[in-house]
């Protein structure tokens, strides 16, 4: 019984302390100087102004930015798909390789004097 009354007393005093601490806190916040109150009002106004700007930005810009971004991406993809095809129509690297590796053509290059002699002989025969 005595223990219970001790515990209750301790708890009551603790609650009383918390209550008084809260009152002191309220008292401090209600006795702030005018300069601090002015600064707090400004801080609040700035925060609320930012919200107005933030809420305006997504509604207006995000739609346009998303559309523009999608168009740009599509244009890029199409460009990369079409441009290589145009270049392959002109000349393929494989064609070059075939020409360079063809034996006949290499003979032609290496025996140029011989073919020149045939041409000259044919020309002189025709004139005779």
């Amino acid at each position: 019984m005595n223990n219970n009354s001790k515990v209750n007393t301790g708890t009551d005093i603790k609650n009383n302390f918390e209550k008084n601490a809260r009152l002191a806190y309220e008292q401090q916040s209600e006795t702030l100087d005018s300069q601090t109150l002015h600064r707090l009002r400004l801080a609040r106004e700035i925060a609320l102004t930012k919200q107005t700007r933030a809420s305006w930005l997504p509604s207006l810009n995000l739609k346009w930015l998303t559309g523009a971004g999608a168009s740009l991406a599509l244009a890029s993809v199409l460009t990369f798909m079409i441009v290589p095809n145009i270049t392959t129509n002109k000349l393929s690297p494989l064609d070059d390789l075939e020409i360079l590796t063809a034996e006949a053509d290499l003979d032609l290059v290496t025996h140029m004097d011989f073919y020149q002699w045939i041409d000259e002989s044919a020309l002189s025969e025709s004139t005779l």
Binding site: T9, G10, I13, K14, N16, F17, E18, N20, A21, R22, A24, Y25, E26, Q27, Q28, S29, E30, L32, T36, L37, R39, L40, A43, R44, I46, A47, L48, K50, Q51, T52, A54, S55
Partner: protein, 193 residues
């Protein structure tokens, strides 16, 4: 639609008006600097408004306090780094007490020796602020949220991002330390008399 937005703006403005003074006292007590405290309150307001204004208004108080406590923690971390560099550059150990974050050993759950006289007078407010200011940061936060803002242990643990057990420990140590501090002050007053 415009009316809805306007009502929502008014609602959050009312909430900010309601909370701003207490938030400032809390930040000032946690930091000990008026200008820095004003900056922290403004940043917390901005973050709440820009990120959580669409939330249910019942969620605003714990969200606001969580944002503010995180900012207070960040501020203390930055200060710690600055002080470390300052100390290193000066090669001086004079300010080491600034970094103390060690829990106090004076644990006690008995409050029957609290100086009742001090609780009732106007000086109590200043004495309490001094005592709370002298606490380590986590104890300070636990005390302000539990005793001042009347959050329960679970809510406080969410705001402080720690376990309920830690909140209980921080709060208990904070109360014991404040009690000791007020008792010392009371004894000092008696000695002067």
């Amino acid at each position: 639609m415009n009316n809805l937005t306007s009502n929502s703006d008014n609602k959050i403005e009312d909430f900010l008006i309601h909370i701003e003074k207490r938030a400032f006292v809390m930040a000032r007590t946690a930091i000990g600097d008026k200008e820095e405290a004003l900056d922290i309150v403004q940043n917390a307001m901005m973050k709440l408004v820009s990120n959580y204004s669409n939330k249910d208004s019942k969620e605003w108080p714990p969200l606001f306090h969580r944002i503010m406590q995180n900012q207070i923690n960040d501020w203390h971390r930055r200060q710690k780094v600055r002080n470390t560099w300052r100390l290193w550059l000066r090669n001086d150990k004079g300010d080491e007490n600034d970094f103390r974050d060690e829990p106090l050993e004076n644990k006690s759950n008995e409050y029957d020796q609290l100086p009742e006289q001090a609780l009732s007078n106007m000086e109590f407010s200043q004495s309490l602020e001094n005592a709370v200011t002298a606490l380590p940061l986590r104890q300070k936060q636990a005390f302000m949220l539990r005793a001042w803002e009347e959050y329960n242990t679970r809510e406080t643990s969410k705001i402080m991002s720690c376990s309920e057990g830690s909140v209980k420990t921080h709060y208990s140590r904070a109360l014991a330390s404040i009690r000791t501090c007020l008792e010392k002050e009371e004894r000092g007053i008696h000695h002067e008399q």
